[in-house]
Amino acid sequence: MADIRTNIAGLQMVNPVMTASGTFGYGLEFADLVDLSQIGGIIMKGTTLNPREGNDYPRMAETASGMLNCVGLQNKGVDYFCEHIYPKVKEIPSNMIVNVSGSSPDDYAACAARINELDAIPAIELNISCPNVKQGGMAFGVTTEGASQVVKAVRKVYDKTLIVKLSPNVTSIADIARSVEDAGADAVSLINTLMGMSIDIERRKPRLSINTGGLSGPAVKPVAVRCVWQVAKAVQIPVIGLGGIMSAEDAIEFFMVGASAIEIGTGNFIDPAISVKVAQGISNWLDCHHLESLHDIIGII
């Protein structure tokens, strides 16, 4: 059996498959359907310093081989997370990672500082690329200055593994990646969703309450693979790849272009057990190709 364990900046994982923020709840929602201990890491839904109601309904539209969403970081805030959710998730035998978002560098830092105190949370994923919130979110992720500013603020107060999630809605994602590496990020994850829009021509209105939303699913995979390839060549820190992964073969494309781990997002909606199936499939593929370790294919392109 091939060795598919991986290590992201000190984060030890039984396999390289993580579940993407906002697509797997807090893990608990899927407990009936999949063995959570067989998932390399679970990135919980976006958490902010203060509670957020998110955007109005409708928040979702199905598109060709994908979907748009504009949830807008609905969450009960970091205090609620620490008091009510953390006690329930801290026993889950996987890497439980919090996705942190905010409206200002101080915001991000204050939230990250709270999470830093939680022993059972080994890492955070900094979301500087959410296309669905007015202030903050993607605003920071589309300029090297903004990205660097947020990462520096968080790095000061957060001493565990710091992953930064990047937006593909930029002219050069490699430049953004370099800036967050220089600012102290331990790893980058990409891609967040592509900004898109869909129209209900009968109602003559956008399908989403805030007009635009984030596109995800197999439709975006080619863009995601390209971005991971560009970023992996640009930075020294580990790269986590995501975007439309529905199978082990999809995941292997990301490893070959330089990802050390991958996240599955929208795929969880189609098959709640997809993460474990993909992990198993990666192991099988390596065995079939007489490869001893996942590391034999990482970055070979």
């Binding site: 409708p58 189609i270 709640p272």
Partner: protein, 269 residues
């Protein structure tokens, strides 16, 4: 745990076409199907449909414990449901279920009016059955655009009295469910709860119809629950796409619902 969520391939044992607009799929499994509360739903994976990426949420129409069958009554509206209507006996269908919370548990002796419109009628069949099983008395008020939107009336009548309205008058009283005479009579009475035909309402159908029923219930101070059909992706409360504004803020219809007491909602009625 009998009500644990499952995601598995169920075998199609019957495919019925009541008329062009609907298909009734009867599914079974090699092991006993999990307990399903009336009002819960399933998420179906639709194969061979390029236009269909996400699962399709479908309410549970009926559970036949004796035959270990789960029935899904599906209205054919788009490419995805059209593909489902092409399924054949023996095909497998991947189903994620049971999802959400059902209608209120029935209590022996209570009288419940079940109001359904269009394909929203489907889950009320299982509910009528479950109410009768616990010794409650269901009354069925079913509305449709015309007679061929009113399916399974023979089955409904096994569990309770059936009242029908159609917009074109092709069956029952002409008009909307809220125009039906049993509501008129209720309206005209001033007597005590016990003498009323029913003590509460459970409703499933198009939103305008449910709002009309909710408005009527509010006016007459009758407890009323409605089953919502917001667009959803995961069905598990993870994606937060199907939210409804409630007195507790935005909540997932798939997880906290699909059934809500009208007092929990923020509908302007």
């Amino acid at each position: 745990m009998g009500n644990m969520k499952q995601c598995k391939d169920l075998k199609i044992v019957a495919v019925e076409h009541p008329n062009d607009g609907y298909v009734l799929l009867k599914l079974t499994d090699t092991e006993p199907l999990p307990a399903v509360r009336a009002g819960q739903f399933v998420e179906i994976k639709v194969d061979n449909s390029p236009q269909t990426f996400l699962r399709r949420p479908i309410s549970v129409n009926f559970v036949d414990e004796d035959c270990n069958e789960l029935w899904l009554l599906i209205q054919i509206v788009g490419e995805g449901t059209r593909q489902l209507s092409r399924l054949q006996v023996g095909d497998m269908l991947n189903v994620l279920f049971p999802l959400g919370n059902g209608f209120m548990q029935g209590v022996a002796g209570e009288r419940v009016l079940l109001v359904g419109g269009g394909v929203g009628i489907a889950p009320l069949l299982e509910y009528a059955k479950q109410l009768k099983q616990v010794g409650a008395t269901p009354y069925l008020l079913l509305g449709g655009r015309s007679a061929n939107n009113l399916l399974q009336l023979d089955l409904f009548s096994k569990y309770g009295e059936v009242y029908v309205t159609t917009e074109d008058g092709s069956m029952g009283e002409q008009g909307f469910v809220t125009n039906h005479s049993i509501l008129e009579t209720y309206n005209s009475q001033l007597s005590t709860l016990n003498s009323q035909l029913f003590q509460r309402i459970s409703c499933c159908g198009p939103k305008p119809m449910m709002m009309a029923v909710a408005r009527w219930a509010k006016q007459h101070q009758v407890r009323c629950e409605v089953s919502l059909e917001n667009l959803m992706a995961c069905g598990l409360g993870a994606c937060l796409c199907c939210v409804e504004k409630t007195v507790k803020g935005n909540v997932c219809v798939c997880k906290e619902g699909p059934v809500f007491d009208i007092n929990e909602l923020t509908w302007q009625i």
